[in-house]
């Protein structure tokens, strides 16, 4: 079974982003970048499926400029077999990303596509579901367990009330949640090996898709700062403040 894993290059999750002074966007100059944590979980899940003998080949794909090759190499070092970069300098809406990925799905015919549930930069939580819609596949989003059985995959999903398990006909789309697995670190020999694994570059413009922006970013501002608070010296003082000053308990 072929598994396709689309991944995204994003700000490192430990870095607090700054907003540009002219409020046009966030400022990512010289910012540490990484694979989106949820995408890393997706790669790990594919590698585990391969180790279990379920998956035969893992293809990672990323849409972006040359810099995203760094994340594709990381995914190769983690165990993916080959990589595709869909090259564009534009920052595309999730719908356009999904349309490009749809083309890769048509070319590669994977049985399973595993994506992160959201990227920690735009926080959209859309691409996997959109790709499922465009390809007509079933989807198991926010997965904490994925079990492939014959021509079906059972996906346990993290939902507001707890867990929900659905059975999907393959080919299907899975998006990962935090509890699906704990990604490994790439070993040095695997990082070296990854340099020789195939990485195809395909210009986004070659796919014949209208990639016109569907949204326009009018401005980006920092969030409202909270008023500085105070330290209290005791539980008595805390309870007193909550009753008489904040008036949130009685």
């Amino acid at each position: 079974m072929k598994v396709l894993v689309p991944i995204k290059r994003v700000i490192d999750y430990n870095v607090k982003v700054r907003v540009k002074a002219d409020n046009s966007d966030v400022d990512l100059t010289n910012t540490k970048m990484a694979i989106n944590p949820f995408c890393e979980i997706a790669v790990e899940e594919a590698v585990r499926l391969k180790e279990a003998g379920t998956a035969t080949e893992i293809i990672v794909v990323s849409v972006g400029d040359k810099t995203c090759q760094e994340q594709l190499r990381t995914a190769l070092a983690l165990g993916a077999d080959r990589a595709i970069q869909i090259e564009t300098d534009e920052s595309l809406d999730a719908l356009n990303i999904a349309k490009l990925l749809q083309k890769i799905v048509e070319e590669e015919q994977p049985q399973l596509v595993i994506l992160g549930k959201q990227s920690i930069d735009s926080d959209n939580n859309q691409t996997g579901q959109m790709l499922a819609a465009l390809t007509g596949m079933a989807q198991g989003t926010f997965a904490s367990e994925v079990v492939v059985e014959g021509d079906k995959v059972n996906v346990t999903r993290e939902v507001d009330g707890g867990l929900q398990t659905v059975a999907l006909t393959l080919p299907a789309i899975v998006t990962t949640d935090l509890r699906l697995n704990e990604p490994r670190y790439a070993s040095l020999p695997n990082i070296m090996k990854a340099k020789r694994k195939p990485l195809d570059v395909k210009p986004a413009a070659d796919f014949g898709i209208n990639l016109t922006a569907r949204t326009s970013l009018l401005k980006v501002t920092p969030p409202a700062e909270r008023q500085a608070g105070i330290m209290v010296g005791s539980i008595d003082e805390l309870v007193e403040k909550l009753k008489t000053e904040a008036k949130v308990i009685s």
Partner: protein, 308 residues
């Protein structure tokens, strides 16, 4: 303008978050219809008909919609989408799951998790775990939006809108429901509670979460957790508050043994009053706390329970 709001419910009760999404819809302005898709969900439709400002409630009552499977629900919404300029759902698990499917099938972008409406095509939403706030204009003729309920007040319930039954049934046939393992709790819903007390890795184990029970009982609070506490298996996943968990904005949020990582803050920093109890005076949670108490939680919690 006409707007469709998708109702979040469990086939019995309408979630109050739907009332908040209706408020967002009313801010855009126009006729507001609420779609209730489920099975044996007539009582949900009746509750939806009471929401102030709603003009009509549509009910699609069929087994295909019982578990809100994205493949079926998105097909249903698509069938009636032509009648609406804007389609909205609450950014809870159901809406987050199926709405991008609707957007893609309509060939339009989705704007996720809006916290404000500037006009019928321009919306405000947090990005980067709430460390930046984006104003985004939709260039599509049809808008597909999910709404962060905590950012809007709930619409009232003094209405009696017309209820119309839809006969559409779509079972895409590519997915089926296997089982639910839902957390049973007598406490208020995290998203709806006016007081939330959350524990983090500092709680050390699941048993120690009992230290929060007595306090939650006295305050009528919901109990939440950090990702670290969930990952460690102290408590179930549905208690996670944060960027990638639940977003809460209660009147009072008490963070206990939680360091205050940006991902956690993203889920609670719009709370009205924040209390932090932590033994590390340098913990970043103190920077957003209105009242900070530097203390060992194992001393502080029993004392707090006794003094409430």
């Amino acid at each position: 303008m006409s707007i469709l709001v998708y109702a979040e419910h469990d086939n019995k009760n309408l979630k109050t978050e739907t009332n908040k999404t209706v408020t967002a819809a009313l801010k855009i302005g126009g006729d507001v219809h609420v779609l209730v898709a489920g099975t044996n969900c007539q009582s949900v439709a009746e509750q939806a008909a009471k929401i102030t400002g709603v003009n009509k409630v549509l009910v699609a009552d069929n087994a295909a919609y019982e578990h809100q499977l994205a493949e079926n629900v998105s097909a249903l919404v698509l069938e009636i989408a032509a009648d609406y300029d804007t389609i909205m759902a609450t950014a809870l698990t159901t809406g987050k799951n199926f709405m991008p499917r609707v957007a893609a099938l309509l060939d339009v972008a989705q704007i996720s998790d809006i916290i404000d409406v500037e006009s019928a095509d321009t919306f405000v939403r947090p990005i980067y775990a709430g460390n930046a706030i984006a104003t985004v204009k939709s260039l599509d003729t049809k808008k597909v939006l999910t709404v962060r309920a905590t950012a809007f007040d709930a619409a009232g319930s003094d209405n009696s809108a017309e209820i119309v039954t839809l006969s559409n049934v779509t079972d895409a046939g590519i997915s089926s429901h296997v089982k639910d393992e839902l957390t049973v709790s007598a406490r208020p819903d995290l998203g709806a509670a006016s007081i939330v007390i959350s524990g983090g890795r500092g709680m050390q184990n699941g048993d120690n979460f009992k230290l929060l029970d007595g306090i939650a009982d006295k305050l009528g609070a919901a109990i939440g957790a950090s990702r670290a506490a969930v990952d460690a298996g102290f408590v179930p996943n549905d208690m996670q508050v944060g960027q990638t968990g639940k977003i809460v904005a209660p009147d009072l949020y008490i963070a206990v043994g939680i360091s205050g990582a940006i991902q956690h803050l993203a889920g609670m920093k719009d709370s009205k009053v924040i209390v932090a109890i932590n033994k590390d005076p340098e913990a970043p949670i103190f920077q957003v706390a209105d009242y900070g108490l530097e203390a060992d939680l194992f001393d502080a919690l029993p004392e707090l329970e006794a003094k409430l």
